[in-house]
Amino acid sequence: MAVDAKVREKYKSEVKPIWCPGCGDFGVLTATFMALGALNLPPEQVVIVSGIGCSGRFPGFTTCYGFHSLHGRTMPVALGVKAANPDLTVIAVGGDGDTLAIGGNHFMHACRRNINLTYLLLDNNLYALTKGQASPTSFPTQVTDSTPFGSYEADVEPCALAILFGATFVAREFSARAKKTAEIIVQAIEHPGFSLVHILSPCVTFFDTYDLYKQKIAELPEGYDPTDLYGAVRTATDPERKWVGVLYRGHRPTFEEMIPKIRQKAEEKLGPGDLQAMLDRRRV
């Protein structure tokens, strides 16, 4: 993937990121600039929707349109953007708490709607903006300020969930591999349908996982079949390794493809909308 540094510059805003030096999110931001540059998307055609958390500030660091929404609510907002204008390129950015705790319900339904957008899940295994509490992807034995004796619950695996909820593109990467991440983001944007990119994005301040993930990640083997749904779920939940690459790829009509189909059906059955005629038919 050829990326011209100058093209990349046009997506970078004058606002300096507030993330801690070394934060994994820098890698994702760089990867996103590289991906947008590679696709040569005009910034005004791109909408970046975020929730709340360290990742929530993402849109403001770009020259694209942005919507810094509420904690957990990226998907409702992104759905509305797409309903109003399906031609826009929408990238949603959410953290692990944002996506899987407070926004878990929306995440499930966004997957099954197969909205044509790219969801960047920036997973640092805890709540960092609120200074270090356990999240749904915290390890059960992980000690945080809110789980000083370990957690009551098991953790969740977002890629497996997304596949089973009906997402049609599910991939995983590591933010320290910015170029690889950019390549995956390009594929995700190009994929017609809901694309999840699960990005392991360590928090250097509260739970530094760089070394852990450097050891644990592994690229998917040659001949891996991303169309095998249950195989992909098994791969995503492998306890030994964090497999990176495109875990799953399926095909279903997208939300955007359904819009004109539903309109056509409504018009076939009931005719094109004529409000004055409808009102006049309600005459006594």
């Binding site: 909408v47 349109y65 609510r73 309903a83 204008n85 409504a266 006594v284």
Partner: protein
């Protein structure tokens, strides 16, 4: 006046079938006789079974309330007589299925027992047609020409000739059965020349209003009494090039509305109290990020799940005060079916003009009642669109939240020039997060300046009346009213005037921001001021007291049904006595 002026109530268990349709057919038939109609319905919250009721009030003049008592009561079953006997006029007409014998009917009443069940089930072998036999009997007893019902049946079941035929047979059977009876009551229908009227429910009028205003995205989640708006939108909005969404919860509904509006589409959601509570976090966001949106809350009896099929006006606090932080918003309340249409159009206009969340406070009774209303001419409507930034006139760069005199800043739309980030964090003019002391003060003032613009809306668009002052400039008793209670107040003040009482009324359609000076002037011009509302805590009265520093007499009821005219008239009489004594 027993000719062309009476109230009919139809009651029975929903398992009997066709209770509500009986009332709807009566209402349409009376309207086709050139009369005005106003209906009111209650139905059980149970999935199957339970007592349903529909009341139809008719007159030759416009009617504004559902009628205090039933002049003609039609009972499908014994329980319905027990349920409705307390609201049956002492010298009214009771029509009942002769499968039961009603107990305790006043001697002054006229009773017609007719074997509707037997006719439908045994003679016609069509138990579903019982309601049509009732309509046939009604026709025979009160002079409503059967041809009117025949026409309704033919158009309602157009294209299904065997259903038309069996219903016509049932209608005729009921007609002939009642013709055998001796007419003993004074009620009668005298057809008049047809008037040019529409029959709509409140919720239908809201749907039409939304489309007329240019709504392109609707998002909702099923909830009584707003589910029929979701269904209408899912069915019809695609025909107008729009995209309706049934989403996973009310949080998602308002989130999708904000996303759509941010992307340039006019968007709305419709819910009831519980769903509205879930939306308040996003309403606060809409105020901060300055995103136009319309939210309908059809109020029902609360708190919590409360009584989902019963009416109340108890969500005013959450509409006006709900949300975290200082949240500018506009709250409007329709009071009639016609008002539902126009208030919805104005809600979109205000949202677009002021880039604010606009909340419409309807209620269950208004949502589901039908009225005859004047025809609507779409060409006469004024539709306002937001001020969109198109890349011009900003030599010093585009700033989404530019400080302006009105508080409104041109809005850039994705796909076009002026890319910015819609911010829920406090931000500067560019939209960049900023928490300088002066900035928060300045931006809060900017957002609230838009409320002053909202109050000037009626000056620029005189078709909209944010308030209406009925009656004299000064009076012994003034009544301040909002929402669907206004109908009963309008009739009560008319009757009070006829009794020689000195009374005026102030009907508020814009609840927030409050037209403070108008309300102050009204209160200061009246001896005593009554404020009736269907809630326990006197919610609008609190708002009025807080905004004006003046007192009013709260009159609160929480029975799940609208005020009766008589209840308000009695309260006016009491206050008039006090006011005269204090003069």
């Amino acid at each position: 006046m027993p000719v062309n002026e009476f109230t009919i109530r139809v009651g029975g268990d929903t398992l009997e079938g066709g209770i509500i349709r009986t009332g709807e057919f009566l209402a349409h038939a009376l309207a086709r006789c050139g009369l005005e109609i106003f209906t009111f319905r209650t139905y059980p919250a149970e999935i199957k079974g339970g007592q349903a009721m529909i009341q139809v009030r008719t007159a030759e003049y416009p009617v504004y309330s559902h009628g205090d008592e039933a002049d003609i009561l039609i009972c499908f079953d014994e329980e319905s007589w027990e349920v409705h006997r307390d609201e049956f006029r002492y010298d009214g007409v009771l029509i009942h299925d002769s499968k039961f014998e009603p107990k305790g009917v006043p001697g002054t009443a006229t009773v017609y027992g007719i074997p509707f069940s037997e006719i439908a089930k045994i003679r016609l072998r069509n138990p579903m047609a019982k309601n049509m036999t009732i309509l046939g009997s009604f026709s025979a007893l009160f002079g409503l020409p059967p041809s009117v019902f025949e026409g309704l049946i033919e158009s309602y079941w157009a294209g299904r000739p065997h259903i038309v035929q069996s219903n016509l047979t049932a209608l005729k059977a009921g007609y002939e059965e009642a013709k055998k009876l001796e007419k003993k009551d004074p009620f009668w229908v005298e057809p008049r020349p047809m008037r040019d009227r529409l029959i709509l429910s409140g919720n239908e009028a809201i749907c039409y209003g939304a489309v007329a205003a240019g709504c392109k995205v609707f998002a909702g989640y099923p909830i009584t009494p707003s589910s029929d708006i979701l269904e209408w939108m899912m069915t019809h909005l695609p025909r107008f090039g729009g995209t309706p969404l049934q989403v996973e919860d009310e949080i998602s509904a308002i989130g999708a509305v904000l996303g759509a509006s941010f992307a340039g589409a006019k968007a709305m959601t419709a819910t009831s109290g519980p769903g509205f509570s879930l939306m308040t976090e996003f309403i606060s966001h809409a105020a901060m990020a300055e995103i136009p949106c319309v939210i309908l809350n059809n109020q029902r009896a609360g708190p919590s799940t409360g009584m989902p099929t019963k009416t109340e006006q108890s969500d005013l606090y959450q509409a006006v005060y709900g949300g975290h932080g200082d949240v500018p918003r506009i709250v409007l309340a329709p009071s009639t079916v016609q008002g539902c249409f126009y208030v919805t159009v104005h809600a979109f206009n205000l949202a677009e003009r002021c880039q604010l969340p606009v909340i419409i406070l309807g209620d269950q009774a208004l949502a589901h009642r039908t009225e005859t209303i004047l025809p609507i001419d779409l060409n006469s409507l004024i539709i306002i669109n937001r001020d969109v930034y198109r890349g011009d006139g900003a030599e010093d760069g585009y700033r989404r939240y530019r400080l302006t005199e009105t508080g409104v800043s041109p809005m850039a739309i994705p796909g076009g020039p002026g890319a910015y980030s819609a911010e829920g964090l406090e931000h500067n003019e560019e939209g960049h997060p900023n928490w300088d002391q002066e900035n928060h003060m300045t931006m809060t003032q900017k957002r609230f300046r838009k409320l002053e613009l909202a109050l000037r809306y009626e000056e620029d668009y005189p078709g909209f009346q944010g308030y209406r002052w009925y009656g004299p400039e000064r009076a012994d008793v003034g009544v301040i009213v909002w929402g669907s209670t206004a109908g009963a107040v309008r009739e009560a003040t008319y009757l009070a005037e006829k009794e020689g009482l000195s009374v005026a009324a102030l009907h508020m359609s814009t609840l927030y921001p409050l037209h403070r000076e108008v309300v102050r002037r009204f209160i200061l011009s009246m001896g005593r001021v009554l404020l009736p509302e269907l809630n326990y805590t006197g919610q609008f009265a609190h708002l009025v007291r807080g905004e004006t520093g003046l007192d009013v007499v709260s009159y609160n009821r929480v029975t799940g049904v609208p005020f009766k005219v008589r209840e308000i008239l009695d309260a006016i009489r009491d206050l008039a006595r006090e006011a005269v004594a204090a003069r």
